[in-house]
Amino acid sequence: MNKVAKKLVLVGATSLIASNCARIWVQNGFNEVVLIGRDRKRLENVGCDLAVRSGRDDFSCSCEVVCDGTDAESVTETIDNICRDAVPDIVLIAQGSSLDMNEELQQNLSRLKSSLLLNGISPVLYAQGFARHMEKKGAGHVVMIGSVAGDRGRSSNYVYGSGKSLLDTYAEGMRHYFALKKCGVMVTVVKPGPTLTPMTADLVGKVKLADVKDVAKCIVRGVDCGKKTVYAPSRWRLIMFVIRNLPSFVFNRLNI
């Protein structure tokens, strides 16, 4: 077994997609895991599951509670703490929610703002926060979970989608920056299609939902190969290629 410590950080660690990815990474040799989220008890349950599945004597897991992931100060402090001993090899940033109906957000600006903060700003704060440390070390991999909804604004979910699309441009900029600096830090945006998790539980029986285990496998494979964008399941790359390239006069007539 690999004796070199490999460190994984999950932000929004209670996410089913994130915890399923972590199960695979832990089996592949990651032995130090830090979980960030809002609720200590639930984070500990995720940690416990990973510890049992890992089965390694040298496995360690710690939990960091951040009540407000859009508060720059607490985010900075948490990240600095985590990176004090060792900068993580992979940070997976997973918090997000599409539960709010777009129409309601259109009518309520303060909820609109919260949605953009949660799905766009908060992930970027974490990404940039960890990237600062990774840059110094010259290595590390930042992975943000975006969404296929970020690829083109659609009437039914453009608030959520535009929050997610911020991650794309931000990641692109980061990659450009690290390339110019000749620094080995990698940045990936993951775009899952509809997947059965607590976030989509209302859609059971209405929409075809992918199995979270398959999605996690696809994400880990893509990240481990260092892809810039990972669609999961991979057929969404083609579907979104078509949707992105539909001319507006066609797109605006479709209720998709």
Partner: protein, 436 residues
């Protein structure tokens, strides 16, 4: 509301589905989540055949997200997991560490909660009893929000009622299970053809002391007697581990059943001779030995749009020979049945579960494509044989037995069971047979 059915695909009815997000969550117990019929029902992986996992018009508390491991203690040989963990995932985790679940049913695509609630049995009932015999403790969430830790010494009444309790006592949230040690992932197996029931009973008797796993495939239709294949085996000392990869999927539901008297004759003849060739002991990976059907996903679709029944009964040993022989005759006469005829003896080990199905005797299980009245007429005949032999039907498989047969089989236990039933839980089966 979403249309949901059980493994038998006999009917699809409207349900409210409430996935339980994690083991700390209690929100779902609020009455606003109750469906139109105002009751809940826990739901695992929907692998029961009949209506035990259906609550038409009500709410299903789906446990698919409760898939976390909680503790693994190799010294004390126990594992603690949330109730939605599938036996497949648990078994694969354990086997590479030199352990296995002592009891698993003929498919590993079932949840821990479902295995407890139906108190499932395996090919080794004569040694390890039922799943419930190997449960150390569990946490039971009642719909009034109370969380009970249950074991044979704590809340023992709830422990006994919940094992085999068909989900009617509350939601099992997590469970601690006892394990057995194994060397690797292999079974040393042997297939022995038999020509009639006498040979079957002789083989069973001769094998039970020496072989942990025994089960027989029985040909329900071809041949003159009751021919079949007796399969027996033990966990091998071979130390390496192999896990199976991938399976195929039956892609669609045909409009009519692909199982008919012609395909059945062809299959059974082929299967009998193919298996007879393997009479010398051979090594087989445990998943191929225990769960051969799991290799084809959604195989239940093969029976077509009308779905299918499984008839599984147990009769006491003393009446076993006559009952099975009569059942075989009735089925052959009706020209019904399918490939999957299973015959097995149950040992004397008693389960703690009040409504647990197995009793010392012989159990017979066979699938039947749903051909409406014709099938029901045959079932009525089989019911009389079971009734007269003092037997009963397995509730995990039942979708149609008359109330009076249920009362003969389970009536005494019901008086005790009812004290522990949760007033806000019911299923199509409980309303059909238990009156709530």
């Amino acid at each position: 509301m979403t249309l949901v059915s059980s493994w038998g695909l006999l009917k699809k009815t409207e349900h409210n589905i409430y996935p339980v997000a994690d083991r700390l969550q209690r929100q779902f117990l609020q009455s606003e989540h109750l469906g139109d019929n105002r009751t809940f029902l826990p739901r695992g992986n929907g692998r029961s055949y009949g209506d035990v996992c259906i609550n038409s018009g009500g709410t299903l508390l789906w446990t698919g997200f409760l898939d976390k491991f909680v503790d693994f203690d190799p010294q004390n040989m126990t594992v603690t997991v949330e109730s939605g963990v599938l036996l497949r995932d648990l078994q694969r985790f354990l086997v590479v560490k030199g352990f296995m679940l002592p009891v698993t049913p003929g498919t590993q695509e079932v949840s821990v909660g479902g295995a407890i609630a139906c108190d499932v049995h395996c090919k080794n009932h004569h040694m390890y009893g039922t799943f419930g015999c190997n449960v150390k403790s569990f946490k039971l969430l009642r719909t009034d929000g109370e969380l009970l830790t249950c074991s044979s010494s704590e809340n023992a009444g709830f422990f006994k009622a919940t094992i085999g309790g068909l989900g009617l006592t509350g939601l099992v949230v997590e469970a601690t299970l006892l394990l057995k040690k194994v060397a690797g992932s292999w079974i040393n197996a042997e297939n022995i053809p038999f020509a009639n029931l006498n040979e079957f009973f002789d083989l069973s008797k001769a094998s039970e002391n020496k072989y942990e796993h025994t089960v027989s495939w029985i040909d329900c239709i071809t041949g003159d007697g009751e021919r079949g294949i007796f399969m027996r085996g033990n966990n091998s000392e071979r130390r390496d581990c192999e896990l199976l990869k991938g399976s195929i999927n039956f892609p669609f539901t045909p409009p009519f059943s692909l199982v008919n008297s012609l395909s059945l004759r062809l299959f059974n003849t082929f299967y009998y001779y193919a298996q007879s060739l393997k009479s010398r002991p051979f090594w087989v990976q445990y998943e191929k030995f225990f769960y051969p059907l799991d290799h084809v996903g959604n195989w239940n679709r093969i029976y077509g749009k009308k779905g299918f029944y499984q008839y599984q009964c147990v009769v006491p040993m003393s009446a076993g020979y006559d009952a099975v022989s009569e059942i075989q005759q009735q089925i052959a006469k009706a020209n019904e049945g399918s490939f999957l005829g299973v015959l097995k003896t149950f040992g004397r080990k008693k389960s703690p579960g009040l409504l647990s199905f197995p009793v010392h005797g012989v159990t017979y299980a066979l699938d039947f494509p749903n051909r409406g009245d014709k099938t029901e007429k045959l079932f009525r005949n089989l019911d009389s044989i079971v009734r007269e032999s003092g037997g009963r039907l397995y509730l995990a498989k039942d979708a149609r037995q008359p109330k009076e047969l249920f009362e003969l089989g389970y009536g005494d236990a019901m008086n005790e069971f009812i004290k522990y039933a949760d007033p806000r839980i019911s299923s199509d089966l409980s309303r059909r047979l238990m009156g709530f």
